[in-house]
């Protein structure tokens, strides 16, 4: 297929690929069931792992008797923490983010001395079948000496409770500060007014559709481990497994993430369970599979949030914000998860300026160990918590000043000509047109008229509320040097290979890892646009450390901006090499070659041309290349962005609250998002829909709780549930486009935006509805009962 006609130039070319609402190529395989997930993969002789977990929140292990379980039919082996220690592997589950003064207790694959939260792995059963393994669990006899426990992050450090780890007697893992305390105190002293809010952001359970899973295959003869797993970042998992946990060189570990059914952060982390799966395979020399049940997901997938915060805002009477002061106790759970330290510190405190010009900000975060499931980044991670605080503060301040909350926001927005804007919370915002997005959102709901209607309805005893959530997000943590300065043990770059195959098709190998986002479509659009080929000519490959040389993975809204940026840069280099070949074969100078719709032609002589796919073939023939040029047409790219990107927007919700019952009805939900350039509007809209659903879930329904015994009280889907479609309103979405000036394709990312926006927007709306009752804040999840109580129904 070497002639231009057959190469796709006639039917589809790349121009217009970027920005088109192309249907997702992955949907047919996923929806028709041919997609292959970890649990779908079976190797010859696969055995099954089940993990015995502690029922106690805090206890000393006195003895473990595995003999009954070992004697059961089909059981191959039962391992305890001592067995792992004796095997001599490094046996640590390392954190990937250091902070000054951080206490880093030992974190092993299987517990040896104490269990520190309900669900801690204490023993592993490998059996011929999944059911045999599961049945054997209750025949492992573990004796515990129960210890006093603590589940609340404030109680953990302020009350006299036994430490979760002896290394941290006061349960403080870190005491973090950001911003200028003195300047903030001064701002508060000078300001006309101060408003404040005490709030809790409850624990959230990620609830990815596919629970975590792993399949490990250790090949004794070559000393190589293949590990299929539900991973958002296979290369990171390979790195963390290598040195810290299993003691194998990276080139002897292949991590494969096949189809992965959602993550929302929970599949970023290096957990004990997948490591135990690999270790068991190394002991037995047989493939070992572990598939978490939903119940295990609830107990062991890292939870999100768990903040207790006092926030204060200082303003002048005209609404000018002078300063913000925040103190937070962040529950970290029983162990430091991979980014569990970064999430409530740098990812949180740095966004407290929101969309506003705030001269002085100070934030202190006490990271507390508790006898609970470890807490780490969950969609929105840190940014969601921070934006929630500043947005609640702005609303409470508007109430205090008797000023319209939209107007108060407007007076403080960072104006477009102030970018790049250096906030008092240590970030440099790249670009923004905050007022434009806000105006558009307010226009959609006809804001002034809506306020009028609100007044009229109140006279009739009906209570509607208008909630506003204006947000920024810091997406795609970078550059790597900055990440390193802040404590990251990994880079902020992304890597890809863009390769023309010899017949003109294109393969993109990307270091990110899709869990449903649609990378196979959007990345193909980016590459097609740069290369002037049809989207159908591009195949995207992700999720295999042996096929994709390097990568950092998919989290923190980074794939489109950092991964997509890398692909665009690589594709441009490929295109430039092709241009040199074209110039050579068309016998002209490179400067005289123009590129248009996949066609290289000589300036001023459009019929003297060569299609890029023809050149691809030439590049691999190697018969007629410029002097000194190597054959082939592919580039490996590492892209380390110069800054985060900063998506933003304003969401508006209209709710009606029935005080008699506390029921909340969402009448309208308008989302205006600015994620920079849009690669695929349909996929962006999908991300916004999912994000709003999760934000509404947090605001109205979710919230994990522990009972007095330290047991997870919300341990099943009928006790903790993500909202059903029937509980969600129609979403009205719109966009403004403010490109990121430093990103190669102008994109900013949209993975977390709507989750960040929706929770404060809904809480704002409910609080607004309840203004006549003197209610200015309610903690999430706002259940009907909590509304009923707040309005005095129980008196």
């Amino acid at each position: 297929m070497s002639d231009a006609d057959a190469s796709g130039a006639s039917d589809g070319d790349g121009s217009g690929a970027f920005g088109a609402a192309i249907e997702r190529g992955e949907d047919v395989p996923l929806l028709t069931g041919s997609g292959e997930y970890t649990d779908d993969i079976s190797l010859r002789g696969t055995t099954h792992l089940a993990i015995r977990r502690s029922d106690h929140a805090h206890a000393r292990i006195e003895s473990i008797d595995t003999s009954d379980a070992e004697a059961m039919e089909g059981v191959l082996a039962v391992f305890t923490g001592e067995d792992v220690v004796e095997s001599g592997v490094p046996n640590t589950i390392p954190t990937a983010w250091d902070l000054p003064g951080l206490v880093q207790p030992q974190y092993r694959m299987l517990a040896t001395d104490k269990v520190r939260h309900e669900g801690t792995p204490v023993a592993a059963v490998v059996a011929e079948t999944r059911h045999a393994a599961s049945d054997a669990l209750e025949h492992i006899h573990v004796e515990y000496e129960e210890l006093e426990h603590v589940t609340d992050p404030v109680d953990a450090v302020e009350r006299d409770v036994p430490p979760v780890h002896d290394e941290a007697e006061d349960n403080v893992a870190f005491d973090f500060e950001l911003g200028d305390a003195d300047a903030t105190d001064e701002a508060f002293a000078d300001a006309d007014r101060v408003a404040s809010v005490d709030l809790r952001q409850p624990r959230l359970i990620p609830n990815a559709m596919e629970p975590r899973a792993a399949l490990a295959d250790w090949e004794e003869a070559t000393g190589k481990l293949r590990l299929w797993m539900t991973s958002q970042n296979p290369h990171l998992h390979r790195m963390l497994l290598s040195a810290g946990t299993l003691g194998l060189p990276e080139n002897k570990i292949q991590v494969i993430a096949p189809e992965v059914g959602g993550g929302f952060g929970s599949k970023i982390y290096h957990y004990p369970d997948e490591a135990v799966t690999a270790w068991c395979s190394m002991q037995l020399g047989r493939p070992v599979k572990w598939q978490a049940t939903r119940s295990e997901s609830y107990l062991t997938d890292c939870h999100g949030r768990d903040h207790v915060t006092t926030g204060e805002i200082a303003l002048d009477d005209d609404g000018t914000i002078r300063g913000v002061r925040v103190e937070t106790h962040a529950g970290l759970g029983a162990q430091l998860s991979q980014f569990g330290t970064a999430t409530p510190s740098y990812l949180y405190a740095t966004v407290l300026s929101g969309q506003y010009t705030i001269p002085a900000i100070h934030c202190r975060v006490v990271g507390a160990f508790t006898n609970t499931t470890p807490v780490d980044a969950y969609r929105g991670a840190g940014r969601a918590e921070g934006i929630y605080v500043i947005e609640r503060l702005v609303d409470v301040a508007a109430r205090e000043l008797e000023m319209d909350p939209a107007e108060l926001r407007r007076r403080n927005l960072v104006p477009p000509d102030e970018f790049p804007y250096e906030s008092a919370a240590a970030l440099v915002y790249d670009s923004g047109e905050y007022e434009r997005a806000m105006d558009l959102a307010l226009e959609h709901v006809d804001y002034e008229e809506l306020r009028e209607r609100q007044r009229e309805l109140r006279d009739e005893g009906r209570y509607i509320g208008i909630g506003i959530g204006s947000f920024i997000e810091s997406a795609g943590l970078s550059p790597s040097g900055l990440a390193g300065d802040l404590g990251a043990q990994a880079g902020g770059w992304e890597s890809s290979i863009v390769r023309f195959d010899s017949t003109g098709s294109v393969t993109v190998l990307a270091g990110t890892a899709d869990q449903g986002q649609g990378h196979r479509t959007t990345y193909a659009q980016v590459a097609a646009e740069e290369l002037g080929v049809s989207v159908d000519d591009v195949t995207v490959v992700e999720g295999d450390t042996d096929r994709i040389p390097q990568g950092m993975g998919t989290y923190g809204s980074r794939s489109a901006s950092v991964g997509g940026g890398s692909i665009a840069r690589g594709a441009r280099e490929v295109r430039e090499k092709a241009r040199r070949i074209a110039a050579h074969q068309l016998e002209t100078s490179v400067d005289d070659i123009e590129f248009d719709d996949g066609e290289f032609h000589v300036a001023g002589a459009p019929d003297r041309s060569l299609h890029i796919q023809t050149i691809a073939h030439e590049a691999y023939l190697g018969h007629d290349l410029p002097e000194g040029m190597d054959p082939g047409l592919e580039e490996t790219n590492f892209y380390d962005p110069e800054n985060f990107t900063y998506p933003f927007g304003t969401h508006v919700a209209v709710v009606e609250v029935e005080p008699e019952t506390g029921e909340i009805e969402i009448e309208r939900y308008v989302a205006v998002d600015d994620c920079g350039e849009i690669i695929n509007p349909m996929i962006v809209e999908g991300q916004v829909h999912g994000g709003i659903a999760q934000g509404i879930g947090a605001a109205l329904y979710e919230g994990a709780a522990y009972d007095d015994d330290g047991h997870l009280r919300t341990r099943r889907m009928d006790e903790y549930v993500v909202p059903h479609a029937t509980q969600l309103p129609d979403f009205e979405t719109d966009n403004t486009v403010t490109p990121s000036p430093h990103n190669p394709i102008g994109v900013k990312g949209v993975g977390e935006s709507a989750t960040i926006a929706a929770a404060p927007t809904i809480v704002s709306a409910v609080a607004d509805a309840l203004e006549p009752f003197g209610v200015d804040h309610l903690d999430m999840p706002i259940t009907p009962e909590s509304v009923w109580r707040a309005t005095g129904g129980d008196n």
Binding site: E660, L700, R716, D718, E719, V721, T783, E785, R789
Partner: protein, 289 residues
């Protein structure tokens, strides 16, 4: 989680099912499996054997008989009941409960017999059955008998249907001068009834001659609300009557009768019961609001 091991038998007749239940200690029937299986997966129930009656023929008929009652076969699904004109005309409360129950897959799979025999306190049909004063026709090793709604519900997941008995039909008396309805407040998490109120009233134009009102979901066991009924009976059809009657919603119930869980406390449920009783009465009576 996984269920524990169990043996599985499929019965080809009611008689065989009774026999199988007798032969296997602790065996449970399974019809639609929408009540039992979720509880087997969580470990709340683990019967050593299941006797499947889901494929039995002839147990799903919905018929009206001349003797002033309708009969709904135990294997009739909630969807079939929701769509039945006979049920809609003569037992509107049951039709309401069936159509408000769960979601389409649940309504297509779950059966009325299984629902009522199981005694899940969050279920919808019990309040309708109590208000309609229906009864269950059951067959066991000792032959056939009838269980009145008033005797059926003994506690959470406890009913008067004995271990070796099979519900074959639900019988509901009909009354052309009566109206009935069921009102549900969904638990936002499970979709089951957080509060469900079934109402049956016989009125002449001005007066309520007879009233039967029942609750499900809010209480640990579905129950009649006699305080409400006493207030209604003999009173004029009016807004005042409705308000006064609804105010009695909690009076005949013990303080500890109300369910308390992550979503709603007992106190809040009691409050909602008053409101939903009032609204359920407005739904069926032609006054005000």
């Amino acid at each position: 989680m996984y269920t524990n091991d169990f043996d599985y038998y499929r019965a080809d007749s009611v008689g065989e099912a009774v026999e199988l239940l007798g032969d296997h200690d602790g065996a449970e029937l399974v019809a639609g499996a929408h009540g039992l299986l979720p509880r087997m997966k969580t470990g709340d129930e683990s019967p050593p054997a299941l006797v499947d009656i889901g494929q039995l023929n002839g147990l799903d008929a919905i018929e009206s008989s001349d003797g002033g009652s309708i009969s709904v076969g135990a294997l009739a699904t909630h969807a079939e009941i929701a769509d039945s004109e006979i049920v809609r005309e003569h037992a509107a409360a049951l039709a309401d409960a069936a159509s408000e129950l769960g979601d389409p897959p649940v309504r297509n799979g779950g059966t009325i017999g299984g629902n009522l025999a199981h005694g899940d306190p969050r279920s919808d049909p019990p309040a309708a059955l109590l208000a309609l004063e229906g009864s269950l026709e059951v067959r066991g090793s000792d032959g056939e008998r009838t269980i009145d709604a008033a005797e059926l519900f003994e506690g959470p997941f406890e009913t008067a249907v004995a271990d070796d008995e099979i519900v074959t039909a639900v019988r509901i008396p009909t009354d052309d001068d009566a109206v009935s309805g069921y009102r549900k407040r969904r638990d936002p998490l499970s979709g089951y009834a957080m509060v469900g109120v079934g109402v049956w009233l016989r009125t002449d134009d001005e007066t309520i001659e007879a009233a039967r009102v029942a609750v499900t979901g809010a209480t640990t066991t579905p129950a009649r609300l006699s305080g409400v009924e006493d207030e209604l009976e003999g009173s004029a059809v009016s807004e005042e009557t409705i308000t006064a009657a609804a105010a009695e919603a909690g009076t005949a119930l013990d303080a500890d009768a109300f369910v308390s869980d992550v979503q709603a406390s007992a106190e809040y449920r009691e409050h909602l019961l008053t409101i939903d009783t009032e609204r359920a009465l407005y739904d069926v009576l032609d006054v005000g609001q």
